[in-house]
Symmetry: C2
Subunit: 884 residues, 2 copies
């Protein structure tokens, strides 16, 4: 290879730098960068990823001219370290680590203390005055090296160790004496000989060559391969190998080792945060045998080193412009930094750090926006269980809708409504929920179901309400009739307390304290920046005034989806709805619809009031009518008593309306076309509500009437003619003029394909990507859960298309729909409603696709806003700020 294959670092000089991640991997580039900016780092060198690729392509051969450069690098390292491989007085020990461009589990990780053999052990014993330490290091080195390089399984060494400990009757490894260790080393080497057929390599340079090649090989091991496939990382990147001189924190009381953060990763506060152990190695901190001390004590113990560490890490933070998570070792009073990387943090800390760093002028507003993972805001927008509390998890279901909920168990929606009416907090527990449960769910603090997936009725509705929900908790048994819930061998009855953690799916018996979210402070500051930068509008899906209010508080700029059918499940309305459905003819339907009209009108007045001046998109009746009818004969009998219609007639209608594939059945605009009186009543309610508000309250109203499930322009034409006629009639009677719009959902593939024709008749498009995903894939959301899970496990799908919009398939139809629509109406307003509108990746797609707005559940509005702002920034500079 003509190119440089090895990059050395040490003594304040480095061949590479932090930008060379492609060539040196993340770790190698970072080590070079640290050296370059004057941070004390043990010397070493990095073999490039290109060498790895050569190695992979040439069945384990290295480039012809590699060895020369390699020998020089070793010599340079020995020189910098002032130690020599295999030296009997001052032997060089090194660590060998893999390091690809992206942090990547699955590859060979770390070999420490490479260079040890019987001779160098003696030298180290002498030098440290601690023979036991040297022997123990040797034993561990053999085990680690044999496992990862020679493929002699770790377990076999553990067996030998266990046998030995049993024999000498000790429990802890630390109780092993020098003579025990000596014997163990002999046995270990015998094992290696037996299993691998070769002697354990004593020559440090041979050890090093073997370890180096093992790192290269590990790039193609099955685990690494699978990880890359899953994370869409190219197989061509290759890994670098980092070889670095060892330093020891266990060389006496002037030695130490520790880890730390430049700020508090939990709260985000600007404080030096970490812990250390004197006279110890890194492993000891992790092992937890000795309790580490808070880092602030280092100030007293080794004031100069502390100041140096503080100054170095401050500089690192400034240099990397983000909170740093670092590791250090102090060897006989000398400080070495072993690692620095961006620190992981809680959502709360992420927001605080981002906002603080802008104040400190360390980063720009745009960078601050990129620093917060949109999805993580979920943690900030709901009440949560106090994380400092410990609690016992009794069962675990799907984290269907985030937040915490504490309440008394009820098994019936009516009970939920009643108890909540008395000021009690309740948790609704059901095997599954159905549309009849809406009001029970609405009254409950949280919902727990035994069946159903992330997109089950309970999950979808709860997310829409911003209500905690744990769904599909298969460990529990719900006996609604018996009024009890069984978790393992515990029985929970009505009125017993239960706590749900909807963010994790945890179910906890009893009553835990929760913490309420705050939307002001740093969060508020961040959202101001976000809203200034984003171009995509963000609306909320809201069916009732209270949801609309929450939506406004979270910053929604209108309602993107009001599902009018939810308005019909109220106990005083459902019977009229049912009478309408049971009517034999249009006049009887009109009678029932006329009773529903005032309810609908009031609903819209409530919504319009909350959204003063913002657009409100109202979807006409969508679900198949059988959803409103009883499911069983006994329910039909109950209903019969209530509404005075023969149970036989009710049941006959139920059977008549039964559908084999209701998703693809008589619903959406197909209802409005076959029962025009329904569209008529809804239009009348919308326009008369708008007229009244405009006249009496002087509130501007912008109703957008949305016709669902249009697949052909003729359908929309039919409904539009009807809507326009009724609207004109209502406005004439009220002597008011309302600027209303009539548009359609694009949720049937045919609508996307013929969007140019449809745009001729539509004032706006709203992509219903839930249904569009169902029909584009041919997946029923109710049924596909089972095999989608298998698809995800088998990596046939990278993500669930109902959670993140499928850009390659559904996305193409979305693009086509927008393009065709705007080819006819240049300024056609285009949005998205449904679950994807609150998913950050999908929101970014919507931005790129040129939509005007997304609409999501009220509690996801800030998430969508943040994602929309990030989309703008990513667009500006695809690579610079990229989060990957």
């Amino acid at each position: 290879m003509a190119e440089k294959m090895i990059y050395s670092f040490g003594e304040g000089k480095a061949d590479g730098d932090g930008k060379m991640k492609d060539l040196l991997g993340g770790k190698g580039a970072n080590l070079a960068e640290m050296v370059k900016i004057g941070v004390p780092v043990p010397p070493g060198f990095t073999i490039t990823t290109k060498v790895c690729n050569y190695f992979s392509k040439n069945s384990g051969k290295l480039p012809a001219d590699f060895d020369g450069e390699y020998q020089k690098a070793i010599a340079k390292l020995e020189n910098s370290a002032g130690k020599k491989f295999g030296d009997t007085e001052n032997p060089l020990l090194v660590s060998v680590r893999s390091g690809a461009k992206f942090s990547m589990p699955g590859m060979m990780d770390t070999i420490l203390n490479l260079g040890l053999n019987d001779k160098t052990v003696a030298a180290i014993s002498k030098k440290t005055g601690n023979r036991r330490f040297a022997l123990d290091a040797h034993r561990r080195f053999i085990q680690m090296f044999s496992d990862v390089v020679l493929e002699v399984e770790k377990e076999l060494f553990e067996e030998i160790l266990a046998t030995a400990k049993k024999k000498i009757k000790i429990k802890l490894d630390t109780e092993l004496r020098e003579e025990d260790l000596e014997k163990l080393i002999i046995k270990y080497k015998e094992l290696v000989k037996t299993r691998s057929g070769k002697k354990f390599p004593e020559d440090p340079t041979k050890q090093l060559a073997l370890a180096r090649d093992a790192v290269f090989k590990s790039w193609n091991n099955p685990r690494a391969f699978t990880y890359r496939r899953l994370n869409k990382i190219s197989d061509d990147l290759g890994t670098a190998v980092n070889i670095q001189a060892m330093v020891f924190g266990n060389m006496g009381d002037d030695s130490a080792t520790g880890v730390g953060f430049t700020r508090n990763p939990s709260t985000g506060r600007r404080e030096f945060y970490g812990e250390y152990l004197t006279n110890a190695q890194g492993e000891d901190v992790v092992a937890g045998i000795r309790t580490p001390k808070p880092i602030i004590e280092l100030k007293k113990e080794m004031p100069a080193v502390f100041l140096e560490l503080k100054s170095i890490t401050d500089n690192l933070e400034k240099h990397y412009r983000d909170i740093q998570d670092f590791e250090f070792t102090i060897e006989q009073g000398e400080l070495y930094m072993l690692q620095t990387r961006t620190g992981k943090r809680t959502a709360h800390a992420a927001v605080k750090i981002a906002v603080d760093m802008v104040k400190e002028k360390m980063i720009s507003v745009e960078e601050a926006i990129m620093r917060v993972e949109p999805e993580s805001l979920n943690q900030l927008l709901h009440p949560v269980i106090n994380l400092s509390d410990t609690y016992e998890v009794s069962a675990k279901g799907l984290p269907a809708s985030p937040g915490a909920a504490v309440g008394k168990v009820v098994f019936d929606s009516d009970d939920a409504v009643e108890m909540a009416g008395n000021g009690e907090k309740v948790i609704l527990v059901r095997t599954e929920t159905c549309p009849d449960d809406i009001h029970g769910m609405d009254s409950a603090e949280g919902i727990l179901t035994a069946r159903g997936g992330m997109t089950s009725h309970a999950a979808v509705v709860a997310r829409g309400m911003g209500k905690c929900c744990v769904a599909g908790c298969e460990e529990i048994k719900v006996d609604e009739r018996g009024g009890k819930l069984t978790i393992g061998n515990k029985i929970i009855k009505k009125n017993d307390w239960l706590t749900l953690n909807g963010s994790t799916g945890e179910v906890i018996i009893g009553k835990l304290p929760t913490v309420e979210p705050t939307l002001s402070g740093d969060f508020g500051k961040l959202m101001i920046w976000v809203n200034k930068i984003r171009r995509l509008g963000v609306r909320a899906n809201a069916d009732i005034p209270r949801d609309a209010k929450v939506a406004r508080e979270f910053g929604a700029e209108g309602i993107g989806l009001c599902r009018t059918e939810h308005m019909f499940f109220d106990s005083d309305r459902l019977p009229e709805m049912q009478k309408m459905i049971l009517a034999d003819n249009a006049p009887d339907r009109v009678v029932a619809l006329n009773k529903l009209l005032p309810f609908q009108k009031n609903d819209f007045i409530g919504l319009f009031k909350e959204m003063k001046g913002y657009s409100v998109t109202i979807r006409l009746l969508d679900p198949p009518l059988h959803e409103f009818l009883p499911k069983t004969k006994s329910e039909a009998q109950e209903l019969s008593k209530k509404i005075g219609i023969d149970a036989k007639v009710i049941w006959q209608k139920t059977e008549e309306l039964h559908e084999i594939n209701p998703m693809l059945g008589h619903r959406g605009c197909r209802l409005g076309i076959t029962y025009p009186e329904i569209t008529e009543m809804q239009t009348r309610a919308i326009i008369s509500a708008a007229c009244e508000l405009q006249k009496k309250n002087k509130i501007k109203v912008v109703p957008e009437i949305m016709v669902p499930l249009v697949g052909s322009v003729a359908e929309l034409k039919n409904q539009r003619e009807l809507i326009d006629r009724i609207a004109a009639e209502v406005m004439k009677t009220a002597n008011e003029k309302i600027k209303y719009f009539v548009g359609t959902m694009i949720e049937v593939p045919r609508a996307a394909v013929t969007a140019d024709e449809i745009a001729e008749v539509a004032d706006f498009f709203s992509f219903g990507t839930n249904d569009l995903t169902q029909m584009t894939f041919g997946f029923s959301r109710d049924d596909a859960g089972k095999f989608i899970k298998i698809y995800l496990d088998q990596k046939i799908f990278a993500s669930d298309p109902f959670q993140t919009l499928d850009v390659d398939g559904v996305g193409k139809l979305v693009h086509m729909g927008i393009e065709k629509g705007r080819s006819v109406k240049k300024d056609l307003k285009v949005g998205i409603c449904g679950e994807h509108g609150g998913d950050p990746d999908s929101v970014k797609f919507c931005h790129r696709a040129g939509m005007n707005y997304v609409s999501c559940s009220p509690y996801r509005v800030p998430i969508a806003c943040l994602a929309a702002a990030q989309a703008v920034i990513e667009e500006k500079s695809d690579s610079e700020y990229s989060m990957k």
Copy 2:
């Protein structure tokens, strides 16, 4: 208007000609053409369609310069006819007829004898010496004119007539005496005055102007408007008005009137065919009071006229190069042709005439091919009821699958199999059929169901089998348990004879004789031409060897779809299939599948043998597994006894597999991915069958293994890897090499949208437009019937997308799929399977879209072939040969 507005004809000269259909309408252009080629036609003139359009756009006004041209045309007509409007000696009477470019019901049709009033009646009386005739003509003229021009309803005249007849105690109109007619005329005129407020117009030129304008107005009457919308005829065409001198066939024994065809329209034989009445008017022939004489008698009665007529009509046929349907009148020895047009004919005649005319060198082969309506071949390919027999229809259902069937009634599939085994012909009668009935349907001559539409299970399967089926016959009641069928008040029991006409939906009690189809002769000749000209391949859908045999006889070039699931419903296989489904784990499934393997292998051996060398496309298991399990608890108990598995376990599995939207559920390749052992067994059966045949029988086998319901390339990759692995294994064991292909159905919208990715892994595509239509529209075929019917009634849809491929929507996805697929694999083989593959319009679309082949039910193969050939010809010359 600067253009000529009126085209005169007569005395051997015509301003227009036969090509001017846009301007003169079909009738006007034909009259001009006849005059031009020397045919004696009563003189007249045609007012152009442009005048009509002017009239429509200017609220009933005529162009300023119209009247001059009009007066001239009338003068010319009077001159040609040698008669004058309103003349008291030789008055001109005319007919007024509408005539658009396309024959179009709904418009004003014909007014005869215009020009009659009290004065001209006297003149006609004198001239004909038949006062009664003149009076009767007058009475009828008033009634006809008033109805269509003055909008005085016909029924009111009929009432007056009925009252009069009652009073004078007669029954027939012909019994009315002159004095009765005189009184009636007075009463008629009084009625007109009362209802319209105006006197009946006596002035012939006023009558003519009113009639002319009424024709123009009728262009925009609702019936005409609807007809145009339904038939996609532009509203801008307008209609012409034809005004022509009357001639009379009732002026004595040297006068006559008749109709005829240049060939026999029923058999197609080349024979002069028709009938006439001496001393009669056209109406008398239609009224059926006098029995017309066969035209050959005219030869004796008026030999010269007969020869003239024969010669004229022969010339007309030669001129128009098609069988002519003509009308003529002989007025006092003078022959006048009143009309000639292309004759309607039976399918049988159409084929014979087309083939004969090629032999006679009258038309080209290509024209002959265009002369036969593909759909009409259906009549020729199935046994039919002898049309010359008369029979009583007891009930009528949907004509679900054509042909006639005669047999003894059975209500149970097992009975059907048993009786058919004993050589008896049976008709399977069920409320509905289900997949369990496949073998009963297979054994029956025909199927009758009380429920279900054109795409119900019975209909689809019967069409696939080419078996007669009357579906959804709601007039009948089927009592399967009671073993009886009720039609009206008649009860039919098991073993009673029943005849079905699947082409009309008729159900006939008893045993009617049927006629078998012949595929040789003229039909065979036509098909040779068709097959030479078409480019599109035509394959058949066939699941069993017998179907494959029929397919080959009909000319199929391979099997485009073999649905392997149908193979599992046989009584000796179903239990193994059920055991496989009920198995808890893969090893148990494998045990059951291994028992199915020899069955599947034998099925394929049978198919491959029939198709020697032709491709056989085999679709892997497609339907959801619950289709194979019992539907009710009692069925589960029965099954339990049969297969020895606990009924509870069976029912639990049934519930577990239950799906809310099975169409979008766990089926297609989703089965093969989650249960790889199924794909494995099927591959093993296919490849080992092919190996065996190739080795033992030296038969070339071309298996195309088709993976259903692929939506993402990863799915196909998964299945292809499995198939290739098993195939390699089987071939290695057999020491044979099979050239097999692995492809996929494109039936999920996402597959069409990502066809470029999928083509990387697929050897071929087959568009499954049944499912593609379902998902593109979001229509469940099982449920959408109800509202699609309403959509068709309301003209929201022009045709049922499940019958004729929706070119604008689904068609776009098909185009996209082909384009994207071939962008990656230039020569990608593309076909279509499913119902559309046998629909002529859809076949033509497939040709235009560049597919390689269509696949349809065996009995539709000739239809598809003919449509494919027509597509080639239409492509060559879009207008010249167009059938519209």
